[in-house]
Amino acid sequence: MDLLDIRNLTIEMDGPHGRVRVLDKVSLQLKEGEVHSLVGESGSGKSLLAKAVIGVLNPLWDVTADRLWWNGKDLLAMTPKQRRAITGRDMAMIFQDPLAYLDPNATVAEQITEAIPAGDVTGTFLHRRVDRKTRVANLLHRVGIRDHDAIMQSYPYELSEGIAQKVSIAIAIAHRPKLLIADEPTTAMEPSTKEQIQRLLGKLAVSQNMSVLLITQDVASILPATQRVSLLYCGQMMEHGDTEKVLERPAHPYTDAMIKMSLQAHAELAPKSRLPSLPGAVPTLRHMPIGCRLGPRCPYAQKQCVKAPLVRHREAQSYYCHFPLNEPES
């Protein structure tokens, strides 16, 4: 059974110009221990998807889904309290700007301690105190912070970005979640810090048998350990499947464009040639195209594309396109 099973998740909100579908029938499955990368440009709704799973969306928005199942249990049918219990126990999330997501007026030790489940520490009052402290130190070690004493007493504003992200990872793994959602955890970081964090996430996924849903903006910065990848555009799922298959033989024109636009691909370009990019810009919420939302920008679009394509499968990848690329010769 899948750990997280999302089928046709739709999020709608009322804007000043009528109802907007910000997420349009998105499906996503996640197995236990799997590292899954969700790729999409800004505004594609990838963070909304994460927030819908965690349950911190604006209550004014309409969330409907054929399935939003966690371990076989329907998240949408739960009361807020039940849902909070599941979120607090099994899920955790880290964010792009770690400093903004740490309480500025609590020390690192206080914030990590808060995340340690109450049931973990037992014994007398004094014993619990010592126990908590060692647990916090252990967690900091696990995310690669060695001088734990100094960091524990620090306030977030005293930390560097990389350390702060490590601290938020420590907070996230404190209750041994089954799923860690990382919302662009390295986007604004220096390359060396970026790599440290990526390596750490990959290592934790293996050592803790924790699923990781990594949200990134481009295919170049997905985790090396990623087993499966999904591509989202304007709230529609474009393609998902095994990382190798998808990246080697993309079926969807959008995947193809994203790969060509990534930094690694540029190495093979001739000097002074144009950088590959999709024509046009991401449509605004007011002017969402009908059918396949990539339509107006897609070099392969035809008349049929005004109808949203149904899912198609090819070996270990699924895609939503009428005119797929790299079809195997039959």
Binding site: T87, M91, A92, A100, Y101, D103, N105, A106, Y155
Partner: protein
């Protein structure tokens, strides 16, 4: 923290010094003889000549100012022009009488304003919020003197639940030892101690309510706005995503961050209460420093005016110092802001 503390203390004493210059200058700005304004001894009275010498009025103004400072430090504010008694001696009781009223009102204002503000913010744009905000706006816009009359008319005259003015019914014959009625009653050996205590409490209700109405509503609005802002901060969202309950979010993550910005406003609110104190004490015939100041102004009792003004302002400065030191200790981030990092 040491550096922060030293800077705060330095500014505190600097402000006190400036304040003393102003009060010193007042002696010349008030009509009449500067020495009389300063010491309360009239021209031609016994001791005027000695005072002239001891206050160094034959020397430069700087010398006079230094001498004046020395008197302030020794709490020697001269004699009252209207009663002829030592100003500081009278002040002690008046101050305690006012302190009782102010402290209770301040406490009430904090106890009403902050929880209600947080409650309103928690139910932002719901009915609870609207009800609280509307009543806050109403309370906020009623002038203190009018509210006092209204409360007297309603509770004291119409339904006769509470006494109109004064500290306590004089029939209980409680001796004034400290100035605070409640403490005086507790210290006294009257056989009607309990009844006297009840009477004193009843007398306190209306003045405290009047004095705390404006500060509590102000505090309510400040707290509400600040809480709404903090509740939308990313770290509160992150804490919510961790599955923490709303209570824990409010008290563990929102409250400290709200306090960080509400605390400095407490000084401002305290200053506002000082201004209203004069009005409230006058209306409720409360024998405190505010009423005393008003009486001194009417009687042109300059030594008393000087002393009360200086003390009230010094008190506000002291409260400011306390608040800032506590804030710097509890919220280290605010300390760093001052120096732009380190």
């Amino acid at each position: 923290m040491t550096r922060y503390l030293m800077t705060r203390l330095f500014y505190f004493f600097l402000a006190l010094l400036v304040l003393s210059v102003v009060t010193f200058a007042l002696n010349w700005l008030f009509p009449g003889d500067p020495l009389t304004n300063m010491s309360g001894i009239r021209v031609g009275q016994v001791g005027y000549e000695t005072m002239l010498a001891s206050r160094q009025f034959d020397s430069t103004v700087v010398q006079q100012y230094l001498n004046y400072l020395e008197h302030i430090v020794r709490l020697d504010w001269g004699l009252s022009l209207s009663t002829g008694t030592e100003v500081w001696q009278d002040a002690a009781t008046y101050m305690v009488v006012s302190a009782e009223l102010v402290l209770l009102s301040f406490l009430l204002a904090v106890l009403i304003g902050m929880p209600l503000g947080m409650l309103a913010a928690n139910y932002f744009r719901h009915n609870i919020d609207k009800v609280i905000l509307t009543s806050a706006m109403t309370g906020y816009s009623i002038p203190v003197f009018w509210l006092a009359q209204l409360l007297i008319l309603l509770f004291a005259v119409q339904i006769e639940w509470l006494p109109i003015t004064g500290q306590i019914n004089p029939l209980y014959a409680i001796d004034s030892i400290t100035g605070s009625v409640i403490i005086d009653v507790l210290l006294s050996d009257s056989q009607y101690k309990l009844a006297a205590l009840q009477d004193a409490t009843l007398h306190l209700i209306l003045p405290v309510l009047t004095l705390s109405s404006l500060p509590s509503m102000l505090l309510l609005r400040i707290t509400r706005n600040q809480t709404i802002e903090v509740l939308q901060k990313p770290y509160v969202k992150a804490a919510r995503a961790r599955g923490l309950s709303q209570q824990r979010l409010l008290f563990k993550h929102a409250l400290p961050n709200v306090l960080q910005d509400v605390l400095p406003q407490l000084t401002f609110i305290f200053g506002l209460m000082m201004a209203n104190l004069v009005i409230v004490e006058h209306i409720f015939n409360w024998p405190g420093a505010g009423a005393w100041l008003l009486k001194a102004i009417i009687e042109r009792d300059y030594p008393v005016i000087q002393m009360v003004l200086f003390t009230l302002m010094a008190l506000i400065l002291a409260i400011n110092l306390l608040v800032e030191v506590y804030r710097g200790w509890r919220f280290p981030m605010t300390r760093e802001e001052r120096y732009g990092g380190y």
